[in-house]
Symmetry: C2
Subunit: 633 residues, 2 copies
């Protein structure tokens, strides 16, 4: 039973807080349980792909990206050893086995107990920490780009009798508040990526629960299209967080139970207070799973269901994947550099200035050229870099509270790349690239940092890159030129185009432009009517596409004050403000998870009843009962 397993695991002795834990040496390929990419993993085994682009990649030996605590790349800053590294690849997975066989892939969870990202806990019974989820995210990404022939992904466990015990409790109990919140955010995004693959990529996910799935383990299943649970009188699904730990399920479980699977709310209430879970036919009757299958016919039933789920997929049968080659990255204490993305970190000011470079060349002529360019194709390369950069800054640079976005390059080229993708939206790869850009911009929307866009001469805020300014909490666009520095420069422009008008929706289902003009149909129509042409500052301000358009004389002061002010405000209040303002208008399951559920969870995580010395999360597994302040708030 999940409760016993959880208890056994959590009794494993005290550990340090993840952020202060000693660095664990990376031992690629070590240990008996180390998973490896199975045979038949398709054309795109990344280690076999071409090397990274220019720039010094922070890659360790054998193409494995450096782990945070062992990376030879970048400057050896004081916190370098503790940085979390999000780059991964199948050859180095420690916790998952990815096998591909024709139209079906199997992603088997086989967590290495001793492979925790930090010391102080053991990942027993397929419990997971951030490191396990980083690999999962990588696998979900690669399945879309490297394995276009895959129509069904079977998510299962390589261990006996347990699918997954969920997020590791000792890890959570010892983690500082910010770590918990970042961990939940990333895992939520990965669950969202699974649903996005199913909705937009023709890759259905089948959760084949060959043992108990509790807590985050069940929540992972909830992100799948179909849930099968082995019916063996002991395997159950459960959400034991509330009764055992005094917190909520952290990866969308409550929302998906009622809003996606339509479990009746009173049954859902009972379920979430019952640590021992629900199995068998009752789990089916309550809609917690889709079917309960006895063990004897299990393998065959899973195979049949996988084939059935994939039969409706629009995936091209003969397409060849592209390799997501190792991402070249320089990581220092005050600079992060990729080929197209770069960030300058100013710890005194509390800012990261992020500059995205537009394409250096014109795009290839058609979809075949996109496939040939593969991971080198500008939009894909830039998106991968931005994705990694967001995750790096979010997780490793908590005190840089304001991100300032700039761009540099030729707006016409950005628009040409956009057009190539949109005109070939029926091409599987073009489709993947646009959806990946969409997901990456969504990451920005839920990032707890103030986002400010600076639009200056030489920038290329057009189409896809204009989304950065539209995602920002505020934008400043220089009216005219910098008279002292470069009086003859062309004044900055912004250009609205196809990418701004539909293919890159936010979590609320609206484009950033629609959200910006929510309830102002005339404003939206006027902006749309101006699409296609470059707009200088006065016009962009008049149309409401930028917040302020100061001239050279006022620019420095206005921008400086905005950035300094931001750094002087309460970081928590800013997070709350931004989380509320960024999602005007309709709500979706996604905005509910990131906006509502997350806020409640953050509150609970922060309360002594959970995280205080006598709280349930800290007391769990110690044999002592939690002490609760019983006041209802």
């Amino acid at each position: 039973m999940a409760i016993e397993e959880l208890s056994a695991r959590a009794a494993a002795g005290p550990g340090d807080e993840p952020e202060t834990a000693a660095a664990r040496p990376t031992t690629p390929g070590g240990g008996p349980g180390t998973p490896a990419a199975g045979p038949g993993s398709g054309p795109g085994t990344p280690a076999a792909g071409p090397g990274g682009g220019p720039g010094t990649p922070a890659a360790g030996p054998g193409g494995m990206p450096a782990q945070p605590d062992a990376g030879p790349g970048g400057e050896p800053g004081p916190s370098a050893a503790r940085r979390v590294e999000f780059r991964a690849e199948p050859a180095c997975y420690r916790h998952w086995r990815l096998t591909v066989a024709g139209p079906a892939a199997t992603l088997a969870m086989d967590v290495d107990e001793h492979g925790g990202l930090r010391d102080g806990y053991e990942l027993k019974m397929n419990s997971y920490d951030l490191g396990v989820d980083i690999e999962l995210y990588d696998a979900v990404q690669r399945l879309r780009f490297e394995h276009p022939q895959v129509r069904t992904v079977v998510l299962t466990s390589a261990k006996d009798k347990i699918f997954s015990a969920g997020a590791n409790i000792r890890m959570l109990a010892a983690a500082p508040h910010a770590w918990k919140v970042n961990f939940c955010k990333f895992t939520n995004e990965t669950r969202g990526a699974i649903e996005d693959a199913s909705a937009n990529s023709g890759q259905a996910y089948l959760a084949a629960l060959n043992g108990t799935a509790s807590g985050g383990g069940y929540e992972l299943a909830l992100a799948c299209d179909h849930i099968m649970l082995v019916d063996d009188r002991s395997s159950v699904v459960s959400l034991p967080e509330l009764p055992l730990l005094g917190v909520l399920p952290g990866t969308g479980g409550l929302t998906r139970v009622v809003d996606k699977r339509h479990v009746r709310r009173d049954l859902a209430d009972y379920f979430a207070t019952r640590a021992e879970g629900v199995g068998g036919t009752r789990a089916v009757r309550w809609r917690l799973v889709d079917e309960a299958v006895p063990r004897p016919g299990w393998d065959q039933a899973v195979a049949e269901r996988a084939a059935g789920l994939g039969s409706a997929s629009g995936r091209p049968a003969g397409a060849r994947g592209i390799a997501l080659t190792p991402l070249a990255k320089q990581r220092g204490d005050d600079h992060i550099g990729y080929r197209y993305a770069a960030a300058d970190l100013d710890r005194d000011a509390g800012t990261a200035t992020i500059t995205i470079a537009g394409p250096e060349q014109d795009p290839p002529p058609g979809p075949a050229g996109v496939a040939e360019a593969g991971a080198e194709f500008w939009t894909l390369a830039m998106t991968r870099e931005l994705d990694d950069l967001i995750l790096d800054l979010r997780t490793n640079e908590l005190e840089l509270g304001t991100w300032v976005f700039k761009t540099a390059g030729d707006p016409g080229r950005v628009l040409a790349y956009d057009r190539l993708l949109l005109e070939n939206s029926g091409d599987w790869l073009a489709n993947e690239i646009v959806h990946y850009l969409k997901r990456t911009l969504k990451r920005l929307d839920v990032t707890s940092r103030s986002l400010i866009a600076l639009i200056e001469p030489g920038s290329c805020f057009a189409g896809s890159l204009l989304e950065l300014a539209l995602a920002a909490d505020r934008s400043y666009m220089l009216s005219g030129t910098f008279e002292d520095a470069d009086p003859d420069a062309e004044p900055a422009t912004v250009t609205l185009a196809g990418m701004n008008l539909g293919p890159l929706p936010m979590g609320n289902g609206l484009t950033r432009l629609q959200t910006r003009f929510y309830g102002d149909d005339a404003g939206l129509a006027a902006a749309r009517a101006a699409a296609g042409g470059p707009l200088e500052a006065a016009e962009a301000e008049r149309l409401g596409l930028v917040t302020f358009a100061p001239d050279d004389i006022d620019w420095d002061d206005e921008v400086r004050i905005a950035v300094e002010e931001r750094a002087s405000f309460s970081p928590d209040a800013l997070t709350g403000l931004e989380a509320n303002y960024r999602f005007a208008g309709p709500e979706t399951m996604e905005t509910k998870i990131f906006g509502r559920l997350t806020a409640w969870q953050n509150w609970i995580f922060n309360r002594p009843n959970a995280s205080g010395p006598d709280g349930a999360l800290r007391r769990f597994g110690t044999g002592q009962r939690a002490h609760f302040d019983r006041k209802r708030v």
Copy 2:
């Protein structure tokens, strides 16, 4: 400017926490600034109405309900002196002047500086505390029931140059977390009641800001249909909470700015970080207010706009109001009693058992009979009692974490009262009563207590009262009878009827029945098909209308375990669980405010950056800057 006023006010010296502050003697009518109901306040001046019903009213001399610290009613329990009393009436208002002149009413804010609900702060510049809002809520209620001829309510200030400085900061800074949360919840509900009057009662609200409206003062204006701001080069609207206090505006400001008034999100961001606010034509251009009017033509413009706003109202010109007579109530340490509602408080178990009695007689024959019965009409009387009981328990009994609902009476009579109201829904009073019941049930939905319904023989969970069971997190219905106690009793039934099928929607816009069967159209159709007839336990369980239907043998154990378990869980996690489960499906501005905004605000209130000894809320007005932990979470 608001910022200076706020600073001046907050510098008024330290105070105790409200919950430990010394009791303030109630001095009705004392002091020069004490408002009183103006002339012409209509037929329903409550002190002139008939006395309360049976039961011993806890009313002080002169019909004034006892203040928490001076109430002669009820047993003198240890906390009796500190209980908050929600019953109010215009003759005793200390902070508002309500005047009615034909189709227009004026509700002028004139807060008595020395009239705080607790000691330790002064309510300068029309800043408010819970006591001020209790009177506002009472006025909004009475306008609907006692003044049906009123088509426009002008909300303004009786003070010079200030509309309202918002929630009192010293009060907030010193308040315990639960007090802040309860305060915000009640004020949010009152803002919602204003919007409900406008949407469903033909009473438009005009905010006539004859001076600066900052923070909660502006949020009060945001609840109105139309906002006028005096254009005098000094009056502004502002949301200074974030820059000055490190918290969010607490009464829906962020949500209403973007979702209701459609202020562009980047301008809204700038506005909410600018402590000095925005006035004049810029406030109009940004949609923060509807018009800015110079002082010379102010009175005339307000009068014109009030007449215009009311012109479309469907309010009956000749209707006579009914008096909301003083509510009879017995309040002891372990029992709260009204005529139809009662609560037994079990502090050891952490429960309040609430019993609602059905009507004692058949309903009067038609709408004239409803009007004649007035506040004695069962549905209205019961709703007023339930409303007061919810507020009392929520605010005064924080440690009673589970509310157990029972009913007693004749289901047929409940249904007869329901039918009378629904068949006369065009009648203004019937309409008011149904909407009041709707609002009261919504209060239950957002109450941070576990709700369990027990459906036993002799109960009357039918129609309107069945909503109590549908609002509950879980319901238990006895199958058969209690063999030992009363083997010959009729088994309990539940009856779905008109009241369950539309007129009492939740905040998400769906009925509780629709929310229950969200995504399960077949289940909803089957339940609807069974409407009209009494359903015994097995059938009610089969249709999914109750959670469990144990028989006599299992009843005691199942119910006891459910209640005991609930009391053993983390109160915070339960609050989060319930807040997420109760609102499946679509979201509205209302659910966003109570679900998302509130959760973020609670988190922020609970963080050291706001409420710690060095936090912004505690440091405000001390001359010392707040010390922030700059980590973004």
